[in-house]
Symmetry: C2
Protein backbone atom coordinates (compact mmCIF):
# COMPACT_ATOMS: atom_id res chain seq x y z
CA UNK A 1 0.00 0.00 0.00
CA UNK A 2 1.53 3.29 -1.09
CA UNK A 3 -0.19 5.32 1.61
CA UNK A 4 1.85 3.45 4.16
CA UNK A 5 5.12 4.65 2.64
CA UNK A 6 3.92 8.23 2.63
CA UNK A 7 2.89 7.92 6.25
CA UNK A 8 6.34 6.65 7.20
CA UNK A 9 7.98 9.42 5.21
CA UNK A 10 6.05 12.13 7.04
CA UNK A 11 6.72 10.60 10.44
CA UNK A 12 10.40 10.12 9.62
CA UNK A 13 10.67 13.76 8.63
CA UNK A 14 9.39 14.76 12.05
CA UNK A 15 11.58 12.12 13.65
CA UNK A 16 14.97 13.72 13.11
CA UNK A 17 16.13 15.74 16.14
CA UNK A 18 17.26 18.72 14.09
CA UNK A 19 14.06 18.86 12.07
CA UNK A 20 11.99 18.32 15.20
CA UNK A 21 13.66 21.32 16.77
CA UNK A 22 12.89 23.45 13.76
CA UNK A 23 9.28 22.35 13.65
CA UNK A 24 8.94 23.00 17.36
CA UNK A 25 10.13 26.56 17.00
CA UNK A 26 7.43 27.12 14.39
CA UNK A 27 4.66 25.89 16.66
CA UNK A 28 3.75 29.41 17.68
CA UNK A 29 2.45 30.01 14.19
CA UNK A 30 5.03 32.59 13.22
CA UNK A 31 7.32 32.39 10.19
CA UNK A 32 11.08 32.17 10.72
CA UNK A 33 14.06 32.51 8.42
CA UNK A 34 16.31 29.61 7.48
CA UNK A 35 19.11 30.93 9.70
CA UNK A 36 16.88 31.18 12.72
CA UNK A 37 15.67 27.66 12.10
CA UNK A 38 19.24 26.45 11.79
CA UNK A 39 19.93 27.77 15.27
CA UNK A 40 16.72 26.22 16.55
CA UNK A 41 17.84 22.86 15.21
CA UNK A 42 21.39 23.23 16.43
CA UNK A 43 22.92 22.78 12.99
CA UNK A 44 24.71 24.81 10.33
CA UNK A 45 22.73 26.77 7.74
CA UNK A 46 23.73 24.50 4.86
CA UNK A 47 22.46 21.44 6.69
CA UNK A 48 19.29 23.26 7.61
CA UNK A 49 18.76 24.19 3.99
CA UNK A 50 18.63 20.56 3.02
CA UNK A 51 16.20 19.75 5.79
CA UNK A 52 13.96 22.65 4.90
CA UNK A 53 13.85 21.60 1.27
CA UNK A 54 12.62 18.17 2.32
CA UNK A 55 10.03 19.57 4.69
CA UNK A 56 8.70 21.87 1.99
CA UNK A 57 8.63 19.11 -0.63
CA UNK A 58 6.64 16.95 1.78
CA UNK A 59 4.13 19.71 2.37
CA UNK A 60 4.93 20.22 6.04
CA UNK A 61 6.23 23.74 5.60
CA UNK A 62 5.28 26.66 3.42
CA UNK A 63 7.66 29.43 2.51
CA UNK A 64 7.31 33.15 1.81
CA UNK A 65 10.27 34.84 0.22
CA UNK A 66 10.88 38.45 1.07
CA UNK A 67 14.04 39.89 -0.37
CA UNK A 68 16.97 37.75 0.58
CA UNK A 69 15.11 36.17 3.47
CA UNK A 70 12.93 33.10 3.31
CA UNK A 71 10.26 32.90 5.93
CA UNK A 72 9.19 29.37 6.75
CA UNK A 73 6.00 28.48 8.54
CA UNK A 74 3.92 25.37 9.18
CA UNK A 75 1.98 24.60 6.02
CA UNK A 76 -1.35 24.04 7.74
CA UNK A 77 -3.15 23.63 11.06
CA UNK A 78 -3.15 19.91 10.29
CA UNK A 79 0.62 19.90 10.69
CA UNK A 80 0.34 21.70 14.01
CA UNK A 81 -2.22 19.18 15.19
CA UNK A 82 0.05 16.36 14.19
CA UNK A 83 2.83 17.92 16.25
CA UNK A 84 0.50 18.33 19.21
CA UNK A 85 -0.64 14.73 19.06
CA UNK A 86 2.94 13.46 18.90
CA UNK A 87 3.82 15.66 21.88
CA UNK A 88 0.91 14.17 23.79
CA UNK A 89 2.22 10.66 23.20
CA UNK A 90 5.78 11.73 23.98
CA UNK A 91 4.58 13.23 27.22
CA UNK A 92 2.86 9.98 28.15
CA UNK A 93 6.02 8.06 27.40
CA UNK A 94 8.40 10.17 29.47
CA UNK A 95 6.20 10.44 32.51
CA UNK A 96 5.73 6.69 32.67
CA UNK A 97 9.43 6.05 32.31
CA UNK A 98 11.23 8.64 34.35
CA UNK A 99 10.86 12.10 35.75
CA UNK A 100 12.09 14.45 33.13
CA UNK A 101 14.75 17.02 33.87
CA UNK A 102 13.39 20.52 33.59
CA UNK A 103 15.66 23.42 32.81
CA UNK A 104 15.07 27.11 33.49
CA UNK A 105 13.83 27.61 29.95
CA UNK A 106 11.27 24.92 30.51
CA UNK A 107 9.99 26.76 33.56
CA UNK A 108 8.86 29.73 31.48
CA UNK A 109 7.30 27.44 28.90
CA UNK A 110 5.41 25.57 31.58
CA UNK A 111 4.01 28.78 33.03
CA UNK A 112 2.50 30.10 29.83
CA UNK A 113 3.15 29.53 26.16
CA UNK A 114 1.42 29.49 22.81
CA UNK A 115 0.50 26.15 21.31
CA UNK A 116 0.35 26.99 17.60
CA UNK A 117 -2.48 29.51 17.82
CA UNK A 118 -3.86 29.15 21.33
CA UNK A 119 -2.72 29.33 24.95
CA UNK A 120 -1.15 26.45 26.85
CA UNK A 121 0.84 25.84 30.00
CA UNK A 122 -0.46 26.69 33.48
CA UNK A 123 -2.19 29.79 32.11
CA UNK A 124 -3.99 27.88 29.39
CA UNK A 125 -5.06 25.13 31.75
CA UNK A 126 -6.13 27.61 34.44
CA UNK A 127 -8.31 29.52 32.00
CA UNK A 128 -9.94 26.32 30.78
CA UNK A 129 -10.51 25.20 34.36
CA UNK A 130 -12.01 28.56 35.30
CA UNK A 131 -14.40 28.47 32.37
CA UNK A 132 -15.54 24.98 33.28
CA UNK A 133 -15.81 25.75 37.01
CA UNK A 134 -17.87 28.86 36.33
CA UNK A 135 -20.31 26.94 34.18
CA UNK A 136 -19.20 28.80 31.08
CA UNK A 137 -17.99 25.77 29.23
CA UNK A 138 -18.25 22.00 29.21
CA UNK A 139 -15.15 20.12 28.23
CA UNK A 140 -15.08 16.43 27.37
CA UNK A 141 -12.16 14.40 26.19
CA UNK A 142 -12.92 15.03 22.57
CA UNK A 143 -14.89 18.22 22.33
CA UNK A 144 -16.09 21.24 24.24
CA UNK A 145 -19.25 23.28 24.36
CA UNK A 146 -19.53 26.94 25.21
CA UNK A 147 -22.62 27.71 27.30
CA UNK A 148 -24.74 30.83 27.02
CA UNK A 149 -23.05 32.32 30.06
CA UNK A 150 -19.70 31.54 28.45
CA UNK A 151 -20.68 33.40 25.31
CA UNK A 152 -21.77 36.30 27.45
CA UNK A 153 -18.49 36.28 29.37
CA UNK A 154 -16.37 36.34 26.23
CA UNK A 155 -18.55 39.09 24.86
CA UNK A 156 -18.03 41.07 28.06
CA UNK A 157 -14.26 41.03 27.69
CA UNK A 158 -14.65 42.42 24.20
CA UNK A 159 -14.54 39.39 21.92
CA UNK A 160 -16.73 39.15 18.83
CA UNK A 161 -18.39 35.88 19.72
CA UNK A 162 -21.15 36.17 17.14
CA UNK A 163 -18.61 36.57 14.39
CA UNK A 164 -16.88 33.35 15.38
CA UNK A 165 -20.04 31.32 15.30
CA UNK A 166 -21.18 32.71 11.99
CA UNK A 167 -18.09 31.70 10.12
CA UNK A 168 -18.37 27.94 9.83
CA UNK A 169 -21.06 25.38 9.25
CA UNK A 170 -20.65 23.56 12.54
CA UNK A 171 -21.62 25.50 15.60
CA UNK A 172 -18.96 24.17 17.92
CA UNK A 173 -15.50 25.43 17.40
CA UNK A 174 -14.16 24.56 20.75
CA UNK A 175 -11.73 21.73 21.20
CA UNK A 176 -9.63 20.49 24.08
CA UNK A 177 -5.90 20.08 23.50
CA UNK A 178 -3.95 17.91 25.88
CA UNK A 179 -1.23 19.96 27.52
CA UNK A 180 2.12 18.18 27.41
CA UNK A 181 3.41 19.88 30.55
CA UNK A 182 0.29 19.94 32.69
CA UNK A 183 -1.18 16.76 31.26
CA UNK A 184 -4.60 18.36 31.42
CA UNK A 185 -6.73 19.79 28.63
CA UNK A 186 -6.59 23.43 27.67
CA UNK A 187 -8.70 25.37 25.24
CA UNK A 188 -7.91 25.03 21.53
CA UNK A 189 -10.03 25.21 18.42
CA UNK A 190 -11.28 28.40 16.84
CA UNK A 191 -12.46 29.80 20.16
CA UNK A 192 -9.14 29.01 21.80
CA UNK A 193 -7.33 30.76 18.99
CA UNK A 194 -9.61 33.78 19.17
CA UNK A 195 -9.18 34.06 22.92
CA UNK A 196 -5.43 33.91 22.53
CA UNK A 197 -5.44 36.58 19.83
CA UNK A 198 -7.64 38.76 22.01
CA UNK A 199 -5.23 38.46 24.93
CA UNK A 200 -2.37 39.65 22.72
CA UNK A 201 -4.44 42.45 21.22
CA UNK A 202 -5.48 43.75 24.64
CA UNK A 203 -1.92 43.57 25.93
CA UNK A 204 -2.65 40.98 28.61
CA UNK A 205 0.19 38.80 27.45
CA UNK A 206 3.36 39.44 25.51
CA UNK A 207 5.67 37.18 23.51
CA UNK A 208 9.11 36.53 24.92
CA UNK A 209 11.92 36.84 22.42
CA UNK A 210 12.98 33.66 20.69
CA UNK A 211 10.68 31.23 22.48
CA UNK A 212 7.10 30.09 22.57
CA UNK A 213 6.80 31.26 26.16
CA UNK A 214 4.58 34.25 26.81
CA UNK A 215 4.75 36.70 29.70
CA UNK A 216 1.66 37.89 31.53
CA UNK A 217 1.61 41.68 31.79
CA UNK A 218 0.44 43.51 34.94
CA UNK A 219 -2.70 44.46 33.07
CA UNK A 220 -3.16 40.83 32.20
CA UNK A 221 -2.76 39.77 35.83
CA UNK A 222 -5.56 42.15 36.74
CA UNK A 223 -7.91 41.22 33.94
CA UNK A 224 -7.43 37.47 34.24
CA UNK A 225 -8.35 37.78 37.92
CA UNK A 226 -11.32 40.07 37.30
CA UNK A 227 -12.81 38.22 34.36
CA UNK A 228 -11.90 34.62 35.11
CA UNK A 229 -10.85 34.54 38.74
CA UNK A 230 -7.46 33.23 37.68
CA UNK A 231 -4.35 34.19 39.65
CA UNK A 232 -0.91 33.10 38.52
CA UNK A 233 2.33 33.72 40.38
Amino acid sequence: MASNAVFAEIAALAGDPARAGMLHSLMDGRALTASELARAGGITPQTASGHLAKLIAAGLLAVDRQGRHRYHRLASPAVARMMESIMAVASDATSSRRRIVVGPRDAALRAARTCYDHLAGRLGVALADALVAGGHMELGSDAGLLTDSGMALLGDIGMDVEGLFARRTGRLLCRPCLDWSERRPHLAGTIGAALCAHCFAEGWIRRSEGTRAVAITPKGQLRFRQAFGVTLS
Copy 2:
Protein backbone atom coordinates in the same frame (compact mmCIF):
# COMPACT_ATOMS: atom_id res chain seq x y z
CA MET B 1 15.37 20.75 25.87
CA ALA B 2 14.84 17.07 26.62
CA SER B 3 11.22 17.01 25.51
CA ASN B 4 12.41 17.72 22.00
CA ALA B 5 14.51 14.55 21.94
CA VAL B 6 11.58 12.46 23.16
CA PHE B 7 9.36 14.00 20.51
CA ALA B 8 11.85 13.08 17.80
CA GLU B 9 12.21 9.58 19.19
CA ILE B 10 8.46 8.95 19.05
CA ALA B 11 8.15 10.34 15.55
CA ALA B 12 11.17 8.36 14.38
CA LEU B 13 9.64 5.18 15.75
CA ALA B 14 6.55 5.79 13.64
CA GLY B 15 8.74 6.83 10.72
CA ASP B 16 10.19 3.45 9.83
CA PRO B 17 8.26 1.71 7.03
CA ALA B 18 8.19 -1.65 8.77
CA ARG B 19 7.04 -0.21 12.07
CA ALA B 20 4.53 2.01 10.30
CA GLY B 21 3.04 -1.07 8.66
CA MET B 22 2.73 -2.80 12.02
CA LEU B 23 1.16 0.21 13.66
CA HIS B 24 -1.26 0.58 10.76
CA SER B 25 -2.44 -2.99 11.12
CA LEU B 26 -3.24 -2.27 14.77
CA MET B 27 -5.36 0.76 13.93
CA ASP B 28 -8.54 -1.29 14.09
CA GLY B 29 -8.04 -1.58 17.83
CA ARG B 30 -7.47 -5.31 17.88
CA ALA B 31 -4.44 -7.07 19.35
CA LEU B 32 -2.18 -9.05 17.02
CA THR B 33 0.64 -11.51 17.62
CA ALA B 34 4.25 -10.77 16.83
CA SER B 35 4.19 -13.06 13.81
CA GLU B 36 1.15 -11.39 12.33
CA LEU B 37 2.79 -8.03 12.84
CA ALA B 38 5.94 -9.28 11.16
CA ARG B 39 3.89 -10.11 8.08
CA ALA B 40 2.15 -6.74 8.27
CA GLY B 41 5.52 -5.02 8.26
CA GLY B 42 6.96 -7.22 5.55
CA ILE B 43 9.87 -8.40 7.67
CA THR B 44 11.10 -11.53 9.42
CA PRO B 45 9.96 -12.34 12.96
CA GLN B 46 13.36 -11.67 14.51
CA THR B 47 13.47 -8.20 13.01
CA ALA B 48 9.92 -7.56 14.11
CA SER B 49 10.82 -8.63 17.62
CA GLY B 50 13.38 -5.85 17.85
CA HIS B 51 10.94 -3.29 16.53
CA LEU B 52 8.22 -4.37 18.91
CA ALA B 53 10.57 -4.14 21.88
CA LYS B 54 11.31 -0.53 20.97
CA LEU B 55 7.66 0.33 20.46
CA ILE B 56 6.76 -1.15 23.83
CA ALA B 57 9.64 0.58 25.59
CA ALA B 58 8.50 3.88 24.13
CA GLY B 59 4.96 3.33 25.35
CA LEU B 60 3.38 3.12 21.91
CA LEU B 61 2.30 -0.49 22.27
CA ALA B 62 1.01 -2.59 25.13
CA VAL B 63 1.29 -6.34 25.23
CA ASP B 64 -0.84 -9.15 26.67
CA ARG B 65 0.81 -12.54 26.90
CA GLN B 66 -1.42 -15.55 26.51
CA GLY B 67 0.41 -18.85 26.45
CA ARG B 68 3.14 -18.73 23.89
CA HIS B 69 1.52 -15.89 22.03
CA ARG B 70 2.04 -12.22 22.68
CA TYR B 71 -0.80 -9.99 21.66
CA HIS B 72 0.24 -6.45 20.87
CA ARG B 73 -2.13 -3.52 20.72
CA LEU B 74 -1.90 0.26 20.61
CA ALA B 75 -1.12 1.46 24.12
CA SER B 76 -3.74 4.20 24.20
CA PRO B 77 -6.25 6.19 22.15
CA ALA B 78 -3.65 8.95 22.14
CA VAL B 79 -1.44 6.77 19.96
CA ALA B 80 -4.31 6.12 17.58
CA ARG B 81 -5.00 9.83 17.37
CA MET B 82 -1.37 10.49 16.62
CA MET B 83 -1.55 7.99 13.79
CA GLU B 84 -4.73 9.58 12.45
CA SER B 85 -3.22 13.04 12.50
CA ILE B 86 -0.10 11.87 10.66
CA MET B 87 -2.31 10.17 8.09
CA ALA B 88 -4.19 13.41 7.61
CA VAL B 89 -0.96 15.25 6.86
CA ALA B 90 0.28 12.44 4.65
CA SER B 91 -2.98 12.57 2.72
CA ASP B 92 -2.58 16.31 2.20
CA ALA B 93 0.94 15.80 0.96
CA THR B 94 0.19 13.12 -1.61
CA SER B 95 -2.85 14.78 -3.07
CA SER B 96 -1.00 18.02 -3.60
CA ARG B 97 1.93 16.28 -5.21
CA ARG B 98 0.52 13.59 -7.40
CA ARG B 99 -2.47 11.35 -7.79
CA ILE B 100 -1.71 8.28 -5.80
CA VAL B 101 -1.95 4.84 -7.33
CA VAL B 102 -4.78 2.86 -5.82
CA GLY B 103 -4.66 -0.90 -5.74
CA PRO B 104 -7.58 -3.31 -5.45
CA ARG B 105 -6.97 -3.67 -1.71
CA ASP B 106 -7.30 0.06 -1.39
CA ALA B 107 -10.70 -0.07 -3.03
CA ALA B 108 -12.18 -2.12 -0.19
CA LEU B 109 -10.56 0.12 2.38
CA ARG B 110 -11.97 3.20 0.72
CA ALA B 111 -15.47 1.76 0.72
CA ALA B 112 -15.65 1.03 4.41
CA ARG B 113 -13.10 0.42 7.13
CA THR B 114 -12.53 0.87 10.81
CA CYS B 115 -10.40 3.77 11.96
CA TYR B 116 -9.17 2.54 15.37
CA ASP B 117 -12.60 2.22 16.98
CA HIS B 118 -14.99 3.96 14.62
CA LEU B 119 -16.15 3.80 11.01
CA ALA B 120 -14.37 5.49 8.12
CA GLY B 121 -14.29 5.37 4.34
CA ARG B 122 -17.32 6.10 2.18
CA LEU B 123 -19.60 4.43 4.72
CA GLY B 124 -18.29 6.50 7.61
CA VAL B 125 -18.52 9.73 5.65
CA ALA B 126 -21.98 8.90 4.32
CA LEU B 127 -23.30 8.23 7.81
CA ALA B 128 -21.85 11.48 9.10
CA ASP B 129 -23.32 13.35 6.14
CA ALA B 130 -26.73 11.75 6.65
CA LEU B 131 -26.76 12.70 10.33
CA VAL B 132 -25.88 16.28 9.51
CA ALA B 133 -28.35 16.52 6.59
CA GLY B 134 -31.16 15.14 8.74
CA GLY B 135 -30.52 17.70 11.45
CA HIS B 136 -29.40 15.00 13.85
CA MET B 137 -25.91 16.36 14.31
CA GLU B 138 -23.87 19.47 13.79
CA LEU B 139 -20.28 18.95 12.78
CA GLY B 140 -17.65 21.66 12.84
CA SER B 141 -13.99 21.33 12.02
CA ASP B 142 -13.06 20.60 15.60
CA ALA B 143 -16.10 19.20 17.34
CA GLY B 144 -19.58 17.88 16.84
CA LEU B 145 -22.87 18.16 18.65
CA LEU B 146 -25.64 15.59 18.70
CA THR B 147 -29.09 17.19 18.57
CA ASP B 148 -32.15 15.93 20.39
CA SER B 149 -33.43 14.29 17.23
CA GLY B 150 -30.03 12.66 16.83
CA MET B 151 -30.22 11.20 20.31
CA ALA B 152 -33.68 9.93 19.51
CA LEU B 153 -32.50 8.39 16.25
CA LEU B 154 -29.64 6.51 17.88
CA GLY B 155 -32.01 5.38 20.60
CA ASP B 156 -34.40 4.10 17.94
CA ILE B 157 -31.79 1.84 16.40
CA GLY B 158 -31.13 0.35 19.81
CA MET B 159 -28.15 2.25 21.17
CA ASP B 160 -27.90 3.14 24.85
CA VAL B 161 -27.45 6.86 24.34
CA GLU B 162 -28.15 7.77 27.96
CA GLY B 163 -25.38 5.47 29.12
CA LEU B 164 -22.86 7.17 26.86
CA PHE B 165 -23.64 10.62 28.15
CA ALA B 166 -23.55 9.57 31.77
CA ARG B 167 -20.05 8.17 31.63
CA ARG B 168 -17.86 11.23 31.34
CA THR B 169 -17.73 14.71 32.77
CA GLY B 170 -17.99 16.53 29.47
CA ARG B 171 -21.29 16.17 27.67
CA LEU B 172 -19.96 16.10 24.16
CA LEU B 173 -18.31 12.94 23.06
CA CYS B 174 -18.59 13.50 19.41
CA ARG B 175 -15.59 14.36 17.36
CA PRO B 176 -14.92 14.67 13.63
CA CYS B 177 -12.01 12.68 12.24
CA LEU B 178 -10.64 13.69 8.87
CA ASP B 179 -10.90 10.79 6.48
CA TRP B 180 -7.66 10.21 4.58
CA SER B 181 -9.38 8.68 1.57
CA GLU B 182 -12.48 10.83 1.31
CA ARG B 183 -10.82 13.93 2.71
CA ARG B 184 -14.05 14.70 4.53
CA PRO B 185 -14.89 14.34 8.20
CA HIS B 186 -16.47 11.21 9.58
CA LEU B 187 -17.77 10.47 13.03
CA ALA B 188 -15.23 9.61 15.74
CA GLY B 189 -15.17 10.15 19.48
CA THR B 190 -17.07 8.06 21.98
CA ILE B 191 -20.28 8.27 19.99
CA GLY B 192 -18.51 7.25 16.81
CA ALA B 193 -17.00 4.28 18.61
CA ALA B 194 -20.34 3.27 20.11
CA LEU B 195 -22.08 3.50 16.75
CA CYS B 196 -19.38 1.33 15.19
CA ALA B 197 -19.65 -1.25 17.96
CA HIS B 198 -23.41 -1.27 17.58
CA CYS B 199 -23.13 -1.93 13.84
CA PHE B 200 -20.92 -4.94 14.52
CA ALA B 201 -23.17 -6.21 17.31
CA GLU B 202 -26.26 -6.01 15.12
CA GLY B 203 -24.52 -7.72 12.23
CA TRP B 204 -24.80 -4.77 9.87
CA ILE B 205 -21.11 -4.92 9.07
CA ARG B 206 -18.50 -7.64 9.28
CA ARG B 207 -14.70 -7.58 9.46
CA SER B 208 -12.81 -8.82 6.45
CA GLU B 209 -9.98 -11.18 7.23
CA GLY B 210 -6.56 -9.61 7.65
CA THR B 211 -7.46 -6.02 6.85
CA ARG B 212 -9.12 -3.00 8.33
CA ALA B 213 -11.77 -3.10 5.63
CA VAL B 214 -15.28 -4.03 6.68
CA ALA B 215 -18.05 -5.52 4.55
CA ILE B 216 -21.64 -4.32 4.72
CA THR B 217 -24.03 -7.23 5.17
CA PRO B 218 -27.41 -7.40 3.37
CA LYS B 219 -29.06 -6.67 6.70
CA GLY B 220 -26.77 -3.68 7.04
CA GLN B 221 -27.67 -2.43 3.56
CA LEU B 222 -31.32 -2.49 4.57
CA ARG B 223 -30.92 -0.87 7.97
CA PHE B 224 -28.53 1.84 6.83
CA ARG B 225 -31.11 2.80 4.21
CA GLN B 226 -34.07 2.63 6.60
CA ALA B 227 -32.50 4.43 9.52
CA PHE B 228 -30.14 6.87 7.82
CA GLY B 229 -31.21 6.98 4.18
CA VAL B 230 -27.76 5.82 3.18
CA THR B 231 -27.30 3.60 0.14
CA LEU B 232 -23.90 2.23 -0.79
CA SER B 233 -23.10 0.20 -3.88
